[in-house]
């Protein structure tokens, strides 16, 4: 299982447009990906409602996990996405 920890860079946190972009990217990978706070229950990263309800704020750390072929590459791409201020773009 691949795992990454990343700090949310988006100034509005992980909702609105950043959440949409993240969920779309996670969905396009075709893998089972989860996102959660360290040590807490994770949610399906392809569920917009789940990701929004997580309510991850700017500067918070989240853990991404994925299973299957290409998991590392997929997570690297998502980490890169979360490390940018998506809302400012």
């Amino acid at each position: 299982m691949a795992q990454r920890t990343v700090t949310i860079a988006s100034s509005v946190g992980l909702h609105a447009r950043p959440a949409s972009l993240f969920v779309q990217a996670a969905g396009e990978s075709g893998l089972d990906i989860e996102i959660g706070r360290p040590g807490e229950d994770a949610v399906d990263a392809t569920s917009i409602l789940g990701v929004m309800a997580l309510g991850a704020k700017h500067g918070e750390e989240v853990v991404l996990t994925a299973e299957g072929e290409g998991a590392d590459e997929a997570l690297d791409a998502l980490v890169e996405l979360l490390s940018r201020d998506l809302d400012a773009e």
Partner: protein, 561 residues
Amino acid sequence: MSNSTENPRGIGVSPGAAVGPVVQVRAHVRPPENEPAPADPVAEHARIKEVFESVARTLEERAAGADETAQQILTATALIARDKGLAKGVLKELNAGKGPTRAVTDAVGTYAAQFEALGGYFAERVTDLKDVRNRVVARLLGQEDPGVPEFHVPSVIVAHDLAPAETATLNPTLVRAIITEAGGRTSHTAILAAQMGIPAVVQLVGARDIPVGTIVAVDGDSGEVTLNPSAAYQEELIGKRERRRAALAGSSGPGRTADGYPVKLLANIGGVEDAQSAAAQDVEGVGLFRTEFVFLSRDTAPTLEEQTDIYTKVFQPFGSRRVVVRTLDAGADKPLAFADLGPEENPALGKRGLRLQALRPELLDTQLEALSKAAKATSAEVKVMAPMVATAEEAAWFARRVRENGLPSVGVMIEVPGAAMASRHVLAEVDFGSLGTNDLAQYTMAADRMEGALSDLLDPWQPAVLAVIGAACEGAKIAGKPIGVCGEAGGDPLLALVLAGLGVSSLSMAPSKVGIVRYALGLHSMAVCHGMATAALDSRTATDARDAVLAMAHEDLAALL
């Protein structure tokens, strides 16, 4: 009336008259009672998922043809329709023995409750969740999607109530008039319809039962709606519209009473497009520029550069005319994603307007700096005022910040009865006051503006509301400061005369109402306006007040009302 059947009457909120076929905005359907549980929940789930998918595709198709903001919202809503968590929730409800539409409604309800509890931005997304639910439930029942149907001939739009977004997306060239069963004098439908110059009637009982395609005549002044109007009545109504047009064509220029007392006629605007269309009309400037649109439905605070650019575009079209800017009036019922102060028990009485600005001063500082830059870049006479001021201390705090930014003229809205009663102290701190009659009526009569059923209490003709306005004008006189009106009351030609008589020196309204108000002022001397003000204040009820003033009005004006 020339028609034999009894005509329903609502409240006319946007003037003018129109005749056209009815288009009914479809209400959303509720799950039927006693819906049977599916024999095979898994197969039923597959069918429901297909419906969710078809809704997602519809939303994406609409997104493709929409502007950028709408596109983002529609794309995100499509994601909700495809959400795996939501689909699992539906399966859980089906397995618990619920019928398909009930299962969808309850699964959405679980998320909606979570988001409402989170408040702020999340609570706003509940609208999108419910939009998905309404479409899926309608399709499961073999019905068409709720909302405004597509139509191609100029029509009269009928709805229970129109959401602001629905009103704003209506194509004005295809909308002859708007009728709603709910809503009130100061509801969004009323304000937007007046802004667009479309006749509108709200609070029309039975509006939803008018069959689609029925020809109706709508009188946006009296609130009367006539089904299948006779040719004679259509002629009468159109005749009135033409008389009004002819009367107004003969009056132009600055507002003045018959004996030459100036009463400035200004426009209320809410954005760059409004500014361009208002500037092209015969108005002396802007009495209320609502700046909320710059901030609402955004996830981050707009930057100094963005704001400067927007304000410059608003000021430019007015040349050297006056533009009164109201700083951000948000909070509570109009939450900002980037300055959410959490849910409140009584939003209208909570941390809104200047109170929010005081808690988030950096928002105000950026706005004032941007206004100052835009004012320097253009030749407009820019004035800045604060919403929801209650005390002299608040007025002084705001005035200092505005003047520090090099803006020469600062004022406050008088919409809190406390500020109206203490206006001589409050206005001593600033250069001018502006009565926000919608909120002033709401707070004076303790009646929620958004509650259509309380419209009678919110009538600005209520003698108590007029007494509070009169007190504010007295205080302004003592402080030696001008006071204007920027609520919907200023656009009522009879009430405008009363307000002038009470001592108001400017009236700001939807641009479509300026013509009739200018005409009314030009027919009456200031002495008559004083007499009308006294008569209105001496009346026992709102109806008595209006009747008394109407009886004193010039016959040429009375003939147009």
